[in-house]
């Protein structure tokens, strides 16, 4: 027997028509408006990127930021567009920006594509975890804002000051750089709530900061961030625990940190040596990098 001819033909025609309409729609895409030279309405995404935009004197043009942008303190009063890794296009477009300047971590990629398809200029700035990359990032933000001159000056300043801070830290930590005392062994714990307590391995901004401040990462057996394991922590035996302060707050402050399995059995846990530093200062590699090196080295000093 045959299928019902009427339903069959109609439905198939409907499906085919639908596909055709969609195909036509997909082909006739909106023309893009040319972007104006100097952006006037900026949405800044990513803590260090926002910080650089403000340091370059363009903060008055920033109309919205993401949740990771917390410095300078004024930005926390600006409208929010969500967290940089889980953005959605509409809340950003609602502010009618002519430039979205974002950290290379920003995403998901489909949302970046949507913003560009809606005719908004999107500049993705590569992330940084060395002094050189930090300086290059300032120059890149400057180029996106048409503020090349002031950006070059700031980048050079940060590079020089970071170098001086390194020299200072080595003097504090052990006198002459050639014959200094054994470097302090530190571990960085990155926490986002009690369920997510991570240890920073090699090839992380956290490890790079320890190095810059004259310390040694007690955790060298893996790269990136890994969920903490009590055994690995005891085996690493850090003398100091470094923890971003917002993360520390999320696990209930120092008592919560000392309750992390294994931590009490490390030299740092026994001596209660916990160094809490603002997340963005510690891990941002932004314009405050020299200050961050100084601060960390000062707290490492015995």
């Amino acid at each position: 027997m045959t299928p019902d001819p009427i339903t069959g033909v109609r439905l198939r025609a409907l499906a085919i028509a639908l596909c055709l309409v969609i195909g036509v729609l997909a082909c006739t895409r909106a023309g893009r408006a040319p972007a104006p030279a100097g952006a006037q309405r900026i949405v800044a995404i990513g803590g260090p990127v926002t910080e650089i935009v403000f340091a370059l004197g363009r903060g008055d043009r920033v109309i919205a930021v993401d949740a990771s942008s917390v410095f300078p303190p004024d930005v926390t009063h600006l409208p929010q567009v969500g967290y940089q890794r889980t953005l959605s296009a509409e809340p950003i477009l609602a502010h009618d920006p002519d430039l979205v300047i974002a950290s290379g971590d920003a995403g998901p990629p489909s949302v970046i594509a949507q913003l560009r398809a809606a005719g908004v200029r999107v500049e993705l700035i590569p992330t940084a975890q060395t002094v050189d990359e930090a300086a290059r990032r300032i120059v890149a933000v400057g180029a996106a804002l048409h503020a090349e001159e002031v950006a070059r000056t700031l980048a050079e300043h940060v590079r020089e000051e970071a170098q001086r801070a390194r020299e200072r830290c080595c003097v504090i930590a052990g006198g002459d750089t050639a014959r200094r005392a054994p470097r302090v062994k530190a571990a960085v714990i990155y926490a986002r709530g009690a369920g997510t307590v991570m240890l920073a391995g090699s090839d992380t901004p956290a490890a790079a900061m320890l190095e810059l401040a004259g310390a040694r990462n007690a955790v060298g057996s893996f790269s990136g961030y890994k969920p903490i394991s009590a055994e690995a922590l005891v085996a690493a035996a850090p003398d100091v625990i470094v923890v971003p302060s917002r993360g520390l707050a999320s696990i209930g402050g120092e008592p919560g940190l000392l309750a992390v399995p294994g931590l009490a059995d490390t030299p740092a846990g026994r001596a209660h040596r916990v160094v809490a530093i603002d997340d963005l200062l510690l891990l941002g590699f932004g314009p405050r990098l020299p200050a961050a090196i100084d601060e960390l080295a000062r707290r490492f000093a015995p």
Partner: protein, 339 residues
């Protein structure tokens, strides 16, 4: 008016409502103006920014919701017809998991392989995954010409767990920002909709849906039982093969573009069967339209209720669908075949 026409009008109304709502409000008049502008007819004015939001973000998203909702609703009704059990949701019996495994497998492993086929390898990989799991699920459940609901569901749990574990391993080793969010695949989102993506979903879903009407009468006969259907001239194996192919095409494309959005294939056919009876000639189109309606509305709520953040749409469909699943089980229809 026929129920099908009514449903189609409801889908259009919901779509018009959905394209207007969001972080930027766009009035129905502005929507018409933008549509007219594109077709070269002057129907009024709309700001360029609003037109850009409408064309590049809202409209592809709503169209994708219509396509994916229709795919999931019709696939659910078809699978339920094949196994004669109202619990055969593509998500519950492991088909969506297989599609996700195929799609993620391609993203992780296949990305380095250069192909001249543009966007197509991804939906193809999802289709392959969906086809394999559908075939396995149906084979597991069929014993001597009868489909055992218990075996189907328990086998589905096993398949879903297995594909979930493999997806987890792939995501763990991938270390790719595109894959960082396991929530996308497990709860689903329409947030990534762009026109090329909609195009890539439209073709397989259109093909899958176009195969279904031919099956309607045979699925009705199959409701008598496989042996009985065979006696009245139904080529049972061929019906099952075609149903498998059609649902794998539709579900594969849906999952490749939106992740696993659960329960649409369960809720919609259940309600449609209650309203229109078990005849597949009315059930299949009603399930497709109902699925589109449900997903357009669910996505509208998902993207506006927690703005500027977005709720994964799968949370909403599960919140509505899981209680209905419990009702089906409680009524005792899960353990038996459909009348």
């Amino acid at each position: 008016m026929k129920p099908r026409t009514l449903l189609a009008l409801a889908v259009v109304a919901a779509a018009l409502l959905a394209v207007g709502r969001g972080a930027v409000a766009i009035s129905p008049a502005e929507v018409m103006a933008a549509l007219g502008d594109r077709l070269g007819v002057d129907l009024g004015d709309i700001a360029a920014r609003k037109a850009a939001i409408l064309w590049s973000i809202r409209l592809p998203r709503v169209v994708l919701a219509v396509l994916v909702g229709a795919a999931l609703g019709a696939s659910g009704a078809t699978l339920q017809g094949v196994v004669r059990n109202p619990l055969a949701d593509p998500g519950l019996i492991g088909v969506s998991g297989g599609a996700a495994l195929g799609a993620i497998g391609w993203i992780v492993v296949g990305k380095s392989i250069a192909t001249p086929w543009g966007v197509w390898p991804l939906p193809l990989a999802a289709f392959a995954g969906a086809l394999a799991t559908t075939a396995i699920a149906l084979q597991l459940a069929r014993v001597e010409g009868r489909t055992s609901a218990v075996t189907l569901l328990l086998g589905g749990i096993g398949l879903a767990s297995l594909t979930g574990a493999l997806v987890g391993i792939l995501i763990f080793v991938a270390d790719d920002t595109a894959l960082r969010s396991i929530t996308f695949w497990s709860l689903g989102s329409l947030g990534g909709a762009t026109w090329p993506l909609v195009g890539a979903a439209a073709v397989p879903i259109g093909l899958g849906l176009a195969l279904l009407p031919r099956l309607a009468r045979d699925l009705d006969r199959l409701a008598l039982g496989e042996l009985e259907a065979w006696h009245v001239g139904v080529d049972v194996e061929r019906v099952i093969r075609r149903a498998t192919l059609a649902t794998a095409l539709a579900v594969g494309a849906a999952v490749a573009t939106c992740g696993m959005i659960g329960f649409v294939g369960l809720i919609v056919p259940y309600l449609a069967r209650g309203a229109l009876g078990p005849g597949h000639r009315r059930l299949l189109p009603a399930s497709a339209l109902g699925g589109a309606l449900l997903l357009v509305l669910a996505d509208l709520i998902a993207r506006t209720i927690a703005a500027p953040a977005e709720l994964p749409v799968g949370i909403l469909t599960a919140a509505v669908g899981a209680p209905i699943l419990l009702v089906v089980v409680r009524r005792g229809r899960a353990g038996e075949v459909l009348p």
